[in-house]
């Protein structure tokens, strides 16, 4: 691991000043950053440890829940109000990583998680995300774990987070602060497509700090589920996963949210499936038909073409569970 300078601010103002320094990165749980620093995939000159900031509260109110960016994944997944009002979020977090990693990893850090693309993690391989302009080894390489949608000729690395998929289905709001002020953005506007700049992964600006995530109650939020397919029963990244949320009244689907993990270069919202569910009877037939329209624009490699059918079946399964039909 390369040497770096370390600071541990005790308040937000000091943290924002430190993060505005060139070459500074934020350290929260460390499960991504320390791993990638050891591999020398990330070589920051300054590490700003956020562990001293009071940003781990989970504030529950009648219309919303706001989760501090430093709340642990475990704390969020275990929270009784989150389990009751936003079950897909608790399920998605529990489906990810291991107990130890969920204890360490923060909610804000999970939003900023880096891809598990093996070429990105291997500093001997060209990778445009790690070293802009060096090339993409996955294009003609082994791409079984890679994205089938949202890729470009410069990058097809899959976004690895489970939590972000659930947040996308819940229309979560991300709160951000910097020395210039505060802003809030829908989760769908946080992650970017790789295009010709795969090294840029989010719309966050230099010096900005995620302070929290806001979940607003919605008719579909309570009836929400997460289904994940992976190579082993636990502690593996998604081959394909689906977060779905349904608002059903009188047997008819009023509103739906469908998001996919493991298949996109960012957490992937499936508007076409949502439209296919709208105003239809909540039945197994509806769910199966709607799932079939997912990933119509997919551009798979030979190694990962199976993900398309897998994702469709995962969506159908999640819809059946959320819809409570048999």
């Amino acid at each position: 691991m390369n040497p770096f300078s370390y600071t541990r601010p005790v308040d937000e103002a000091e943290a924002l000043r430190a993060l505005a320094e060139p070459g500074a990165v934020a350290l929260a749980g460390g499960t991504t950053l320390v791993d990638l620093m050891r591999l020398e995939v990330m070589r920051p000159s300054r590490v700003v440890d956020l562990g001293g900031l009071p940003l781990d509260k989970i504030d529950v109110s009648s219309g919303s829940i706001t989760i501090g960016a430093l709340a642990s994944n475990t704390a969020v997944a275990d929270h009784p109000e989150i389990k009751a009002r936003f079950p897909v979020l608790a399920e998605a977090i529990d489906a990810g990583a291991s107990g130890q990693i969920r204890n360490m990893a923060s909610i804000g850090g999970n939003l900023m998680m880096r891809t598990r693309c093996s070429y990105f993690r291997d500093t001997a391989s060209p990778c445009n995300k790690r070293t802009p302009g060096s090339g993409c080894s996955a294009q003609d390489g082994y791409a079984r774990m890679h994205a089938v949608v949202g890729g470009s000729k410069d990058c097809i690395a899959a976004h690895p987070s489970d939590m972000c998929v659930a947040l996308l289905a819940l229309d979560a709001i991300v709160h951000v602060k910097s020395a210039r002020g505060e802003r809030a953005l829908p989760i769908g506007e946080l992650h970017t497509l790789p295009g010709n700049q795969p090294n840029i992964e989010t719309t966050l600006q230099a010096g900005e700090l995620i302070t929290g995530i806001e979940l607003r109650d919605a008719p579909f939020a309570k009836r929400s589920r997460y289904v994940k397919a992976r190579d082993r029963a636990s502690f593996a990244f998604a081959l394909a996963s689906a977060a779905v949320a349904l608002d059903i009244a009188g047997g008819t689907i009023r509103d739906a949210r469908v998001a996919l993990g493991g298949v996109g270069t960012k957490p992937w919202r499936e508007h076409a499936v949502e439209a296919a569910l709208h105003d239809k009877p909540a039945s197994k037939a509806t769910f199966a038909a709607a799932a079939k329209v997912a990933l119509a624009d997919a551009d798979p490699r030979a190694d990962n073409a199976f993900k398309i059918e897998l994702a469709r079946r995962v969506i159908a399964r999640a819809l059946v569970l959320a819809g409570g039909v048999s």
Partner: protein
Amino acid sequence: MQNVSGPCRVMAFARGWSPERAAPGELARIRAHLRGLAAELVFESEHGTWLCRPDDELVAIAPLGRARFRVADDEDAVFVVDPAGAVRFAHCQHAPIRDTLAAALEQATDVMLAQAPLHFTRRAWLTTCVVSGFALAVLSACKQKVDPSDPPPLEAARPPLPQELDIVLDVNGTKHPLRVEPRVSLLDALRERLQLTGTKKGCDAGQCGACTVHVAGKRVLSCLTLAVSVQGKPITTIEGLARGEQLHPLQLAFIEHDGMQCGFCTSGQIMSGAAILSEGRATDDAAIREQMSGNICRCGAYPNILAAIKAARS
């Protein structure tokens, strides 16, 4: 303290080389010496790029690119990168080096086999020998062929002088003052500085769970935790789990149910299991398996580990 896990990597940009053109037995010779050096070799020529590990088949890998290492098209070059990723030796020359590489590795192995000074730790000795032995060997093997117009060795990448911090770690109820670089993991601080070697280094990448300890009562991976980030928080390792001579119920259950074979993962299994028991997460077999999925056992002692956790629960 540096992270010295993993092999040294020798990188050779050698024109004209390919596995098909290797002399008979050359690969076997190179492998044997890599094994002795605890190193791996990456070869690159105009014909391709290959990774050579002591015990694996030669594999073609993505090109490193000469330009990235500032090696010109009419040069051959050798780099030695230590386990911490720093370039410890760089040499490039116009004369081809491919005929001398196996010989150089052989000489380096001889240096390695020399008696280690007693005051060196095994690991420090290995790292030092690999780097200095290989550098000397390559230089002497190349000596006859050095072209006076060769460029001088590339300057090794020199990181800035490391910052050191005075911290206090509260481990198993005892406060330990330490001076560490910020990049030192909690795992390395426990094992290398406090001699608490019950916590094991498996993958050093958050994938195996062998390094599981409790920080502020929660099970975490000490390999992905910076020591400087857990000052002031109570840390419990396997050495602190027993109450005096009285073993923790899960430690007794592991003995009773034979919850280990080689034992390397055991301290992590027990630290993880003790946490899920105290948190009430060990509700049924499926829950225990799910909760313990971050602790890998290569021997496959899982049925007995499960039995031990169930026994300790009741």
